[in-house]
């Protein structure tokens, strides 16, 4: 007797002839008491990628002639098995195993709800927190500089590095879609710089910056300047682990930029109003620009600056030095 389907060898005939009982248990061959026989394929394609709660599931077949049979599949199976039953017989069949999970449990639906309740940016925020913790432990003051393209970020960085004149150990991470032109400009000042090319990406994320931090080999108690991709939209949402975001708005842009791109000016703690040396030649209303920034972010600190004339550079560099001192002091306190 076959121990899979229970049909006995030697009892089976089709049209009076004994059936060579060849069971290749990819297919099930059944002969019923009324002499009918049928063959149905269980094309079980078991990719056992994960286990399932039900260790058994049962296929119960009920035929018109009143005969029935059931067969138990005693195995742990995955959800992803292909469960095709191309029944080649004419009996009507009640089948309870045709659901997507290939199993049936009374009262249990095949689909279920999964509570997630996680922030979409939680992955990025996790990396950012790692970066922030590492930077804090090493007394490093990190700034994330954000602006539109062409606001003068790189020039301002070059001038700031030159003005600091080695008084502060520092390194720069440059973010652009393509080219390492900016990193080359920074390296010309003698400061170490690493270029991240985001390719199609419109912002730096915390994972990229974490990798860059590892590669740069930063000094303890130093300054890290991260120049983000020139974009006033996306970098606002992506925390890199910096101490502050610094938004740069140049006076050749519009006074209403803080209102047009409120997320960025809200995320920033400091706004540098750059290219102030050009104010006499423009109709730009600097006070209105500052008022607009404060509408979006009442606490934003504003420094009017010009990388060309040097106006405001002292205030900006003092602010950086104060931040660096704080970072070092915090490291000493936390380190105890």
């Amino acid at each position: 007797m076959c121990n899979v389907c229970g049909c006995g060898a030697g009892e089976t005939t089709i049209d009076g002839k004994a059936v060579e009982h060849e069971h290749s248990h990819g297919g099930h061959f059944h002969v019923h008491a009324d002499g009918t026989a049928h063959d149905h394929d269980h094309a079980h394609d078991h990719e056992h990628s994960h286990e399932h709660m039900q260790a058994q599931h049962m296929h119960y077949h009920l035929h018109e002639d009143g005969s029935s049979h059931d067969h138990v599949h005693d195995h742990l199976h995955g959800h992803d098995h292909q469960h095709e039953h191309p029944h080649t017989h004419t009996h009507s069949t009640a089948h309870y195993g045709l659901g997507p999970a290939g199993a049936h449990a009374p009262g249990m639906s095949q689909s279920r709800m999964v509570k997630i309740e996680q922030d979409i940016l939680s992955k990025n925020d996790g990396y950012a927190n790692d970066n922030r913790a590492w930077l804090a432990a090493h007394g490093i003051f990190a700034l994330n500089l954000v602006s539109s393209p062409g606001s003068g970020k790189t020039t301002l960085l070059v001038k700031s590095i030159t003005a600091l004149n080695g008084s502060l150990p520092l390194a720069v991470i440059e973010g652009d879609q393509q080219t390492d032109n900016d990193a080359a400009r920074i390296r010309a000042t003698g400061a170490p710089a690493l270029q991240i090319n985001t390719g199609k990406g419109c912002h730096l994320d915390a994972f990229m910056v974490g990798k860059a931090i590892q590669q740069l080999g930063l000094h303890d108690d130093s300054l890290l300047l991260i120049e983000n991709v020139g974009n006033l939209v996306c970098p606002a949402s992506f925390d890199l682990g910096e101490a502050h975001k610094v938004a740069i708005l140049s006076v050749t842009e519009g006074e209403d930029k803080p209102l047009k791109y409120p997320d960025m000016f809200r995320a920033a703690d400091v706004m540098l109003l750059n290219k102030c040396d050009l104010l006499p030649y423009l109709t730009f209303d600097a006070d209105l620009a500052v008022a607009n920034a404060r509408r979006v972010n009442p606490d934003i600190q504003v420094i009017r600056i010009s990388a060309t004339s040097g106006e405001g550079m002292d205030e900006w560099l003092d602010w950086i030095r104060a931040g660096c001192k704080k970072a070092v002091a915090r490291k000493t306190i936390d380190g105890r």
Partner: protein, 113 residues
């Protein structure tokens, strides 16, 4: 563009929870997006459909629950509704308002098999 990154973030969360919760297909995804989160709902739907192609969430329905923008007005000393980040307090007109709600972006739950 940044909706594309966000949609990828959503798919990552789904794939992570597929591993821990043992499911192989996602039928519906509920997102909670605040009015002040800087997310364009239509762009999000478009990017989601593109990102989930050939994934366990292929063809999944995306349901976005929009939550209202809320802020604390320092002058009125109460929570007021705001439409945008730079809105003044609708009661007193002051800009001394701190956003307290409506900037969330989260995956709430999934209907899975």
């Amino acid at each position: 563009m940044h909706e594309m990154s966000l949609a990828e973030g959503v798919l990552q969360l789904i794939e992570d929870s597929a591993k821990t919760q043992n499911f192989s297909r996602v039928k519906t995804v509920w997102l909670e997006i605040g009015q002040l989160a800087g997310v364009e709902v239509e762009a999000m739907k478009f990017c989601f459909d593109a990102v989930v192609n050939d994934s366990i969430a292929e063809g999944a329905q995306l349901v976005i629950i929009e939550t209202p923008g809320q802020a604390w007005c320092l002058h009125c000393a109460e929570v007021v509704n705001v439409q945008a980040l730079y809105d003044a307090c609708p009661k007193c007109g002051s800009h001394q308002v701190q956003v307290t709600g409506g900037n969330e972006m989260r995956v709430k739950e999934l209907d899975v098999e």
